[in-house]
């Protein structure tokens, strides 16, 4: 259904669109980073496309894919014309910056903050790019594939729980009912 949207995109921005695909009705367009603001504005304002609702912003970490390790993914929807589109932007590991689409859709604000929180994608032009779910003291970005599984960063000193019996040490006496 949104094939029409992809066609329009390719027609208007032959330079900016790197690649499009439509699998099972998931219309996806890879957009060049430098053109994303322009493309987004066109998608929102054009009467025939009218994407007025931001759905989500997230990222992917293809750890082995160098140098374009990260992809930022946007989902948008049109409440009047009822079609959806997925935009993807490839980002370098060294230069992990992309324009914030909060400037186009206000509702992207917290999604982009979350994306920064979890993956460390820098959204330039974002009004308040700081951690949203994690605490300020947290170091690193936990959803990156190279974040250690055991990477805990407690805010307070943890108690020693060595005295608490493990499952094997529980005696029948402990299970005595009153």
């Amino acid at each position: 259904m949104a094939q029409f949207v992809l066609d329009q995109l390719c027609k208007h921005f032959p330079e900016a669109v790197e690649e499009t695909s439509a699998v099972h009705g998931n219309e996806t367009a890879y957009i060049k980073r430098d053109a994303i603001l322009e493309v987004a504005k066109y998608l929102r304002d054009d009467a025939a496309l009218c994407f007025d609702m931001p759905i989500d912003c997230t990222a992917l970490d293809w750890q082995d894919q160098k140098p374009q390790r990260f992809e930022v993914v946007y989902h948008i929807y049109s409440t009047t014309l009822k079609h959806r589109l997925r935009l993807k932007i490839r980002l370098d590991e060294k230069d992990i910056e992309t324009p914030a689409l909060t400037q186009i859709w206000k509702g992207m604000n917290w999604h982009e903050r979350e994306c920064w929180d979890m993956y460390g994608v820098v959204f330039t032009g974002h009004p308040k790019l700081k951690r949203i779910l994690l605490y300020e003291e947290f170091e690193g970005f936990p959803l990156r594939k190279d974040y250690p599984v055991e990477g805990r960063q407690p805010l307070i000193e943890m108690r020693d729980t060595a005295t608490v019996p493990t499952e094997k040490e529980i005696t029948p006496e402990m299970l005595n009912r009153p």
Partner: protein
């Protein structure tokens, strides 16, 4: 002093001592027992509800399972008035300081129950954001397993705690 008199006085002394001991025991022990007994049936609970286990906690407090029959129905939403903290749900790293602050505000004597797998051990959230058991933050008296635990299990846990209060035993219960 004649032999018989010595014997008698010894007997008298022994009797008096034992009588005094009995009286002291009666006053102290019965007093303490009475205090323990009344504590055990008037637990003012502070529900520290953070996640899905809260639904089960509501069910326990509701009329069907009726935690009121054990004297623990009165939730105080101020830790200063509570003597039992229920940790119901996942404790995240961000929340650990809050939990600690709440616990420190409670007056002695105070007890803690870890309600559910998450509060007891971190559950299946073995990752960067979850504290691996509330006992890493505050001491816990009774651990109730389950995801979420059945209300019967919760009541059983409460009975365990009451037993612990009654006998003043220091051991951890499961």
């Amino acid at each position: 002093m004649s032999e018989t008199a010595l014997l008698e006085s010894e007997i008298i002394v022994t009797r008096r001592e034992s009588a005094e001991g009995w009286l002291r025991d009666a006053i102290e022990n019965f007093g303490q027992k009475g205090v323990n007994w009344s504590r055990k049936y008037s637990l003012f609970s502070y529900p520290f509800v953070t996640a899905c286990c809260g639904m089960e906690f509501m069910s326990v407090s509701g009329p069907r399972y009726d935690i009121a029959q054990y004297g623990a129905e009165f939730p105080r939403f101020s830790p200063r008035q509570a003597d039992l903290i229920w940790i119901v749900g996942t404790i995240s790293q961000k929340q650990a300081p809050v939990l600690k602050r709440v616990w420190e505000q409670m007056c002695e004597p105070k007890w803690g129950i870890a309600f559910g797998a998450c509060a007891s051990t971190g559950g299946f959230y073995d990752n960067y954001t979850t504290v691996q058991g509330a006992d890493m933050v505050i001491p816990i008296d009774v651990y109730i397993p389950g995801c979420p635990p059945r209300p019967e299990q919760v009541l059983d846990g409460l009975r365990l705690l009451q037993n612990k209060i009654k006998t003043e035993s220091g051991r951890v219960m499961v």
